[in-house]
């Protein structure tokens, strides 16, 4: 059954906030697993799959960078472990966002925005269009330059990649902005072609996600469950099984079979 873009927004918001509330790997790693399950079960085929891989790369980079930053400070096991856990939190957030990007049509989400926010809508559309087009342009330009013997692997040759990608990107952005305006974007009236129904599945997904967040919020307020374990001295953190179970609630979207594209 299809899940309404609004329900995906609720899911991503709750999953993201859960990740923000904790640095405990016994909650974060299941959340990464849950995201992966949801991505595998519900991803929209096409370029979005590539953007998930991009977010996964970002997540790994975040993890390594955050752990690496500590090298400039006091180097001890406690600091390193704390930094690694913070990196893990940031990485998990990126994975959740990547999942959201590939299960919900970003343009569908954009259309939920009220029409009054004309400039915001235009800017977000340009930004959303930019990333996938950049990825495509980088591949295209790199291949083309290789054909004239210019290999971008060397730092000195970076302009050969960056200049055409950015210049074409700017031109494309301008064409898109013009096209949106010429097609009436930002006029007062508006109707919806095939508005997506808010299905039972949408309610289940949203309720499960909000329940998971509520349980984490209660735990955070009462300071139980070891959400932010102290790493001084470094030790294996404990975990509450009820909190691990509520992370699993976020996997609900992966359970219902995928119908028409959401």
């Amino acid at each position: 059954m299809s899940v309404h873009p609004g329900a995906w927004v609720v899911w991503a918001f709750c999953a993201g906030l859960v990740a923000m509330l904790t640095t405990n790997p016994f909650y974060l790693l299941p959340l990464v697993g849950v995201s992966w399950l949801v991505y595998s079960a519900r991803r929209i085929p096409g370029p979005s799959a590539r953007s998930f891989r991009m977010f996964l790369t970002f997540a790994l980079v975040a993890l390594v960078l955050r752990s690496g930053l500590v090298l400039f400070g006091t180097l001890d096991a406690g600091n390193l472990a704390a930094a690694a856990l913070e990196g893990l939190r940031l990485g998990t957030l990126l994975v959740v966002f990547g999942t959201f990007n590939s299960v919900a049509d970003p343009y569908g989400v954009l259309r939920l925005a009220p029409r009054r926010f004309y400039e915001v809508g235009l800017a977000s559309a340009l930004a959303l269009a930019f990333a996938p087009r950049m990825i495509a342009a980088v591949t295209r330009v790199r291949d083309a330059q290789r054909l004239r013997g210019i290999h971008i692997s060397r730092m000195r040759m970076l302009p050969a990649l960056a200049v055409p990608v950015l210049e074409n990107g700017m031109e494309d952005a301008l064409v898109l902005a013009e096209s949106m305006d010429a097609r009436g974007h930002g006029r007062g009236r508006r109707s919806r072609y095939r508005p997506l129904p808010w299905t039972v599945a949408s309610s289940i997904v949203a309720t499960a996600a909000m329940t998971a967040l509520a349980i984490f919020l209660i735990a955070a307020i009462n300071d139980v469950g070891g959400l932010v374990p102290s790493m001084l001295p470094p030790a294996w953190p404990g975990a509450e099984s009820i909190l691990v179970a509520s992370v699993c609630l976020l996997a609900v979207p992966a359970l219902s079979p995928k119908g028409d594209s959401p």
Partner: protein
């Protein structure tokens, strides 16, 4: 009859430009007419088109005086979005203009903004889908479409919004001959049946000329408006039949193949024996190569030998695998079966074979043409970059920024940067998109010179007239295989869809206007 578009003393100058691109232009385009805008690059065609719905000056900036009335609305008072219910605009590069991801949503986008009731939307989408023949694409992602498919979707999306005036910048530049014919016929039907006004800019006049009621000739600083025959006369341009008719003194000069045939019956042509030089030794050989993407095979088994000094036109309908074949031959894409070999081994990218991509802009990154060529030959002190600048006729532009050149000359810069690798084989992927006749002539001249120096070139194109003028051999692809391979007069002459105008008028063996004019006056 009322006028759909009125320009009253319009003068416009882009910000920072030295000259006005539109200089005191006044014209009236009657409602329900098919208008063709033509003229050389830099003549102001695109600017004129974009002024119709107010993109110029609202998006371009610059100095604008006079006024433009479209559907009785003054573009100084109405922004493009306030004109969206009356005017639809299809830009030259539809890929960059798509807003949503799914084809069907893209078709609905304009109507959603206009607040069209849902019941109407469904009906209009059905009509637009049928008219452009894109029913099979409606659930696809716009990002996964071929160039020709994108062009159809963009036109359908514009039509679905139900405009009174439809403005299109080179609507058939990425379509194969049959596809272009279908789209133009569909547009003509809207003009005749619904009284819509269509304004289209085109360089390739052979297909569109017979549909046009009015031609707007855009020359730098001057705009001529009138009946097609009259404007072509004053521009000294036109489709091949018009050019030949004018040279042979036929009056009135014909606009269509059908008109030309009546005169041709009374014209005697003396056939001269032009021996075409035989192809040199083989330089690149493909043996039953197959290739594809994501599990679908695009080419199923192609055998092809390219000889030194050949100029090969690679033709075939949209999606027939032309780009894939070029990538295989260039060694960029590994074949899934079969092999590609030069005399000594597999082709080395940028050494044995150079490939000029579909968007020449994607390789240009330096601030002058000379630097652009030098960056290719960097590390090889024995090569003089100036040689290539001369050979491509770019000497006067050596210190110009490549992006300040016309589309045609930019292509030559990209081709020069590729040829400077020293590769004896040059492949070009649809080099004629957006090229005016002058730029095409420059390209044809370069290819002839390159061949005379022993170079081999192969270019993918939908432009039949260019293939007739520039190729020594034509290879036709269909269904993943080579279905015809031979001299242009044999391959093109034998086809109902791909035959150039001269073949249609004078019969097999006649390809270009200059060939016919020479034979008639001898």
């Amino acid at each position: 009859m009322t006028d759909a578009v009125v320009f009253e003393r319009v003068t416009f100058e882009y910000p920072g430009a030295a000259h006005a691109v539109l200089d005191d232009v006044s014209l009236r385009l009657p409602e329900g007419s098919f208008v063709l805008a033509t003229g050389p690059t830099g003549g102001g065609k695109s600017t004129l088109l974009r002024a119709i719905n107010g993109l110029v000056p609202h998006f371009s900036g610059g100095r604008f005086s006079g006024r433009v009335l479209t559907a009785s609305r003054d573009t100084r008072m109405f922004k493009p979005r306030d004109m969206a219910d009356a005017v639809a605009f299809v830009p030259q590069d539809p890929a960059a203009s798509f807003v949503l991801d799914r084809v069907e949503d893209e078709l609905a986008y304009g109507m959603e903004n206009l607040g069209t009731p849902v019941a109407h939307m469904r009906r209009r989408i059905e009509e637009a889908v049928d008219l452009l023949g894109i029913d099979s694409l409606r659930r696809r992602s716009v990002r996964a479409l071929s160039g020709g498919e994108r062009q159809r979707v963009a036109i359908a999306a514009a039509l679905a919004a139900g405009p009174r005036v439809l403005v299109l910048d080179e609507p058939t530049s990425q379509l194969d001959p049959q596809g272009a014919e279908d789209v133009l016929a569909a547009l003509a039907r809207l003009v005749h049946d619904l009284g819509m006004t269509v304004v289209a800019a085109e360089h390739r006049l052979e297909r569109i000329a017979s549909f046009a009621d009015v031609v707007v000739g855009c020359l730098p600083g001057r705009v001529i408006v009138g009946r097609p025959a009259e404007v072509f006369d004053r521009l000294a341009s036109g489709p091949p039949v018009t050019v030949v008719g004018r040279a042979l003194g036929w009056s009135p000069a014909p606009l269509s193949v059908r008109d030309a045939r009546r005169h041709a019956a009374a014209t005697s042509l003396r056939r001269s024996q032009e021996a075409r030089p035989a192809a040199g030794p083989p330089v690149l050989r493909a043996r039953s190569v197959a290739a594809g993407y994501d599990g679908t095979e695009v080419l199923t088994g192609v055998d092809l030998v390219l000889g030194a000094g050949e100029r090969v036109a690679l033709m075939g309908r949209n999606g027939s695998g032309k780009t894939t074949l070029l990538r295989l031959l260039a060694g960029v894409l590994p074949p899934s079966r079969g092999s590609v070999r030069t005399a000594v081994g597999p082709p080395r990218t940028g050494v044995d074979v150079a490939l000029c991509p579909q968007e020449p802009e994607s390789v240009l990154f330096c601030s002058t043409v000379a630097e652009e060529i030098s960056s290719t030959v960097a590390g090889r002190p024995d090569v003089d970059p100036r040689r290539f600048i001369r050979e491509f006729g770019l000497a006067d532009a050596a210190d110009v920024h490549p992006r300040d050149l016309s589309a045609g000359r930019r292509l030559l810069v990209a081709a020069a940067a590729m040829v400077a690798t020293g590769a004896p084989v040059l492949l070009l992927d649809e080099p004629t998109r957006g090229l005016d006749p002058e730029a095409k002539a420059a390209l044809t001249g370069f290819l002839a010179g390159f061949a005379a120096r022993g170079g081999t070139s192969m270019f993918a194109t939908h432009d039949v007239e260019l293939a007739a003028a520039a190729a020594s051999r034509v290879v036709m692809l269909a269904g993943g295989e080579v279905i015809a391979d031979g001299a242009p007069e044999d391959v093109l002459g034998d086809s109902a869809v791909f035959a150039p105008q001269m073949t249609r008028v004078f019969g097999a063996g006649w390809l270009t206007p200059s060939q016919v004019i020479a034979a008639a006056s001898s």
